[in-house]
Amino acid sequence: MTLIEGLLLKNGRIIDPANAVDRKGDLLIQDGKIVAVSPGGRISRGRHRNLAVYDCAGKWVVPGLIDMHVHLREPGEEYKETVESGTRAAAAGGFTAVACMPNTRPVNDNQSVTRLILEKAQAAAHARVYPVGAISKGSNGETLAEYGEMQQAGIVAISDDGRPVINSQLMRRALEYAGNFNLPVISHAEDPALSRNGVMNEGAISTMLGLRGIPTAAEEIMIFRELALAEYTGRPLHIAHVSTAESVALIRRAKDRGCRVTAETAPHYFTLTEEAVLSYNTLAKMNPPLRTAADVAAIRQGLLDGSLDAIATDHAPHSTMEKEVEFDLAANGIIGLETAVPLTMALVREHGLSPARMVELLSVNPARILGVAGGSLATGRPADVTVIDPELEFCYTEEMVVSKSKNSPFLNQQLKGRAVLTILDGRITFNAAEI
């Protein structure tokens, strides 16, 4: 058996906006690092006799994708997902890193939970895992969690995601205290009094279906508060899963004023409308809920014009026990790691998103916001690389789903564009040719 000395990706379209590159060329990986990139040129095999060579003609070679908002469910709900299965799904979707939210059981509000997650991640080795610690102990919204200790254990940000921080004073203190550790604060923006008992967007469809609605104002009011606190404290703030047109406008105006705010949306918010709920489809139940066509258009616009910085999946695995039930009783959320690339590719094909902007949204900006490595194909960097085939069409079937849970509204749909090769530290974590 010959020892593979490295990987040579040949003739791909190298899209590396961090280094202002978008040209055809080759990329050479050795010892887990990117050792040579030749946009516009070729890298010869040279003395490296035992390179594994991949013909990437017609494909995109991009920095490894980073999903800054996933739920890996471990510890506590391993029947839905584990760090192992979730990161395997990430690799299958083209991601080399994920940031996992702290709403596990127990909550990741202390260093021992953080360490447990990272040990599992290291053992699995399918993707980098960046744990997000809780803002408050138990995410109860009452007292600050130990940011310093959690950061030493490995967290990269804090959030009480899954629920809003109701108490404005606590949110202010979190922003301030996070400053000591340079941790970004991620807000799940929702006014719980307005959204209470709601199960879908409030509007024509909720009225038609007799389902309790969640008004768009529930999100916007809280975003308004978060922006006020971010500006007041001068601290960076990141808004998770933006779903409404007015939220995009609020963030845009705050950025124009110089507020240190960044924001993400999820593929379902630029792909589906509330009409997906018709027929009481619990696979279209999520929080924030799917909104109207006007909101979808505004989200797309926000991604194009920079009001929104990142696409994150909010990957939320649930078993059939939580989903094949009455609509009111069904859990919120859908899996997303394996559909993010094709759904974003639809924006590239149909809505004027440039491939470079797509890479910013799925890699460069998440790395920058979280302050982690990645998002670049510069030589000397760890070789986290994703190869995307923009033309590959496939039917997304339940059998294909790598995640332990299958709760996707996109099942049995024809999708186009997907990751075909995912490389982490120079090692292949997913190869579509092998499935």
């Binding site: 409030e202 909720s206 009225t207 038609m208 007799g210 389902l211 309790r212 039930v325 009455e326 609509f327």
Partner: protein, 310 residues
């Protein structure tokens, strides 16, 4: 009605999926069944050997009894499962409950459930026919149909009439089914009540919103106050029953704005003196007891038609 019309529904989940022809046909069949209820022997063998199970997750006396009488008059065997709690709090999922029932081969399941869309869930998991006897705040199709039947009996038509529904539109499946049914059949439907109880975009169902009760009732052919529930006070949707009665209740004076021959309907049970004064409820314009009588005929028609397609 088209000459080649056929009733093809296996389930009755809501009026929203019935066509005008379907509704006409159901009303016709119900009229023909109504005669049976006036016989001295109120029974025909039409559904002999068929099994009808009613699965009620919410307390209900009238609707359950009405369906049961309807089934018995058609000679079906009836069984009732009533549980005050939802299946979830009982520990068994709705799908499991339904699958267990299905294993005993009933011909039809009549379900009432506090959660909107639960009968739709049922039809995705079992093969038995399902009739929705009220799901959450979504629909109550047999009530909508019996209301259409009652109005048609008195007015000989639906088209061109004005129906005013007053009260808690947001939480009323009866209002939903009636808005859809009456507007589908060519009536105009105006809804009124406290703005806190008017659902957003209710116009999309076919209703016009009018916040003045008096204006809503003006020239109406049918006035339908809805039952107002005590919980609405606790949810900060209403200050008090006293204020509700004064500003949104239907009494002799407010009724003056309606057409002189206007009908007064109510899905029951009535909070007398709150949404409706006793003199109006029992007055000459009230057709509330006709509604109850027609309920049996409509439910006979639904059982007969659905089983004809099972």
């Amino acid at each position: 009605m088209r000459p080649d019309y056929r009733f093809t529904h296996k389930h009755i989940l809501g009026i929203d999926h019935l066509s005008c022809d379907d509704i006409e046909h159901i009303l016709q069949v119900a009229e023909s069944f109504k005669e049976i209820s006036s016989r001295s022997i109120k029974k025909v063998p039409t559904l002999r050997g068929k099994t009808v199970v009613s699965l009620f997750f919410e307390p209900s006396t009238r609707t359950r009894l009405s369906f049961e009488i309807a089934a018995k008059r058609l000679s079906a065997d009836t069984f009732a499962i009533t549980t005050a709690s939802s299946s979830a709090t009982k520990g068994e999922s709705l799908i499991d409950t339904a699958k267990n029932l299905e294993a005993m081969n009933p011909d039809i399941i009549i379900m009432r459930n506090a959660i909107s869309g639960s009968p739709h869930l049922l039809t995705r998991h079992i093969k038995t026919s399902v009739i929705n006897a009220g799901d959450g705040t979504h629909e109550h199709p047999s009530q909508g149909l019996l209301d259409l039947m009652t109005v048609k009996e008195h007015k000989q038509r639906i088209k061109g009439l004005k129906l005013a529904i007053i009260g808690d539109i947001a939480h009323s499946r009866v209002a939903h089914s009636n808005i859809i049914g009456f507007s589908k059949m060519g009536a105009s439907v105006t809804v009124s009540g406290p703005a806190t109880l008017i659902p957003r975009n209710v116009e999309r169902l076919g209703a016009t919103v009018c916040l003045s009760v008096r204006e809503a009732i003006r020239d109406a052919d049918v006035v339908m106050p809805l039952r107002i529930q005590m919980e609405r006070q606790n949810d900060a949707l209403l200050p008090s029953f006293k204020e509700y009665a004064a500003f949104f209740g239907i009494n002799r004076q407010t009724l003056e704005a309606a057409r002189p021959d206007a009908l007064v309907m109510h899905p029951g049970p009535i909070n007398r003196g709150v949404e409706l004064t006793p003199d109006v409820a029992d007055g000459s314009r009230s057709v509330i007891l006709d509604q109850v009588a027609n309920g049996v005929a409509i439910r006979m028609a639904l059982l007969y038609l659905v089983l004809g397609n099972a």
